[in-house]
């Protein structure tokens, strides 16, 4: 539900022409994919803790995540981790830069996306390219990537209601969703969740300042 994810998924849905039939697949994604992702993240943290904590080592680089896998599975494990690093970072770079393109192109109503030739969505592709270059330039300033991650997560949390609330409104709009609008029960759950994320969003920036982003 972070803003860039909303742009990514909704734009992908338009580009790939999702229909009612895709609802099943997306439900499966939510019920299977999200817990799986959470489980894997926990596993990474757990393995890192098991290897590093007894030795009193603080984890502050992505590269350190490879060590527990290397210890457990040897060279093959290390190779797999490297492929995983590449897939994760390359995928994330593509995803976030495309989201910049989606957000800006859709705000101004420009042609966007991969369903036309790149030359026919020139401004969209230019924004994507400039975002990648800007991000690389920013990373090359030797800013600490973990600090950047912490601040971006905090700012995403602060912005959550801005994407969550419009989606909740659209989820009740028959001109968009026909007979697939939210049920009363879903709306009750969704409203409780809305209150929760409004609280999070109000608390997050003062907390970040008070704790100096957890340091």
């Amino acid at each position: 539900m972070t803003p860039y994810k909303v742009f990514f998924f909704s734009s992908g849905a338009v580009e790939e022409g999702w229909t009612r039939a895709d609802l099943m697949l997306n439900r499966a994604n939510v019920y299977v994919g999200f817990p799986l992702g959470g489980l894997l993240s926990l596993a990474i943290m757990g393995c890192a803790a098991v290897v590093f904590q007894p030795r009193g080592i603080e984890v502050d680089h992505l590269s350190q995540v490879a060590l527990p896998v290397g210890v457990a599975l040897g060279q093959v494990g290390l190779a797999l981790v490297l492929v995983g690093f590449f897939a994760a970072t390359f995928g994330a770079a593509l995803e976030t830069s495309m989201c910049s393109g989606y957000a800006i192109a859709q705000y101004f109503g420009w042609q966007w996306g991969k369903f036309v030739r790149p030359a026919q969505a020139a401004r969209y592709h230019a924004v994507v390219l400039v975002s990648v270059l800007a991000a690389v330039t920013f990373a090359l300033t030797t800013v600490d990537p973990i600090t950047v991650t912490e601040y971006s997560i905090v700012l995403s949390a602060a912005a959550l209601p801005l994407t969550y609330f419009p989606i909740l409104v659209v989820a009740n709009d028959r001109s968009y969703l026909g007979d697939k609008t939210n049920s009363a029960f879903t709306n009750v759950l969704a409203t409780i969740y809305l209150l929760l994320i409004v609280l999070v969003s109000i608390a997050t920036i003062p907390l970040m300042l008070a704790t100096k982003a957890g340091s």
């Binding site: 705000y107 109503g109 420009w110 991969k114 036309v116 030359a119 026919q120 020139a122 230019a126 968009y176």
Partner: protein, 132 residues
């Protein structure tokens, strides 16, 4: 062709800021502002056209950001007195989540697109390849 343009609608909710698309599905900007005309016999003003482009959006946003948007658009345009693209209400096919035009969009606001295509994206190998 039956034109599905309602007599009355809440323009703030159902028209402003919607995406414009032409008959070929190409995206052609946003409904940035509306032209209102007072009928000759008096009475309440009616919407007669959609205005699109930074020259329409800027004044609607207002403030410093809006002025800046208009100034950039004016600077980039050969005609310093350029008006926003005007799409007559008669050229609309349907008003929905997307506002559909009856004719191929005659490139309102496509000058920046053309410039970026000619000078940057069009020069990248593969720019003319379709994905599907």
């Amino acid at each position: 062709m039956t034109v599905q343009i309602p007599e009355r609608l809440d323009v703030l909710l159902e028209l402003l800021d919607r995406q414009l698309a032409d008959t070929e599905g190409r995206l052609a900007g946003k409904v940035d502002d509306l032209e209102l005309t007072v009928p000759d016999d008096g009475g309440p003003p009616v919407v007669t056209a959609i205005l699109s482009g930074p020259q329409a959006l800027g004044p609607r946003i207002g403030g410093r950001l809006g002025q800046w948007m208009v100034a950039v658009a004016r600077r980039l345009h050969p005609d310093a007195d350029a008006q926003p693209a005007r799409i007559d209400f008669a050229q609309l096919a349907r008003i929905g989540p997307r506002v559909l035009l009856t004719a191929p969009a005659d490139t309102p606001n496509q000058r920046l697109e053309t410039w970026v295509r000619t000078h940057l994206v069009g020069r990248i190998p593969g720019a003319g390849h379709a994905d599907v």
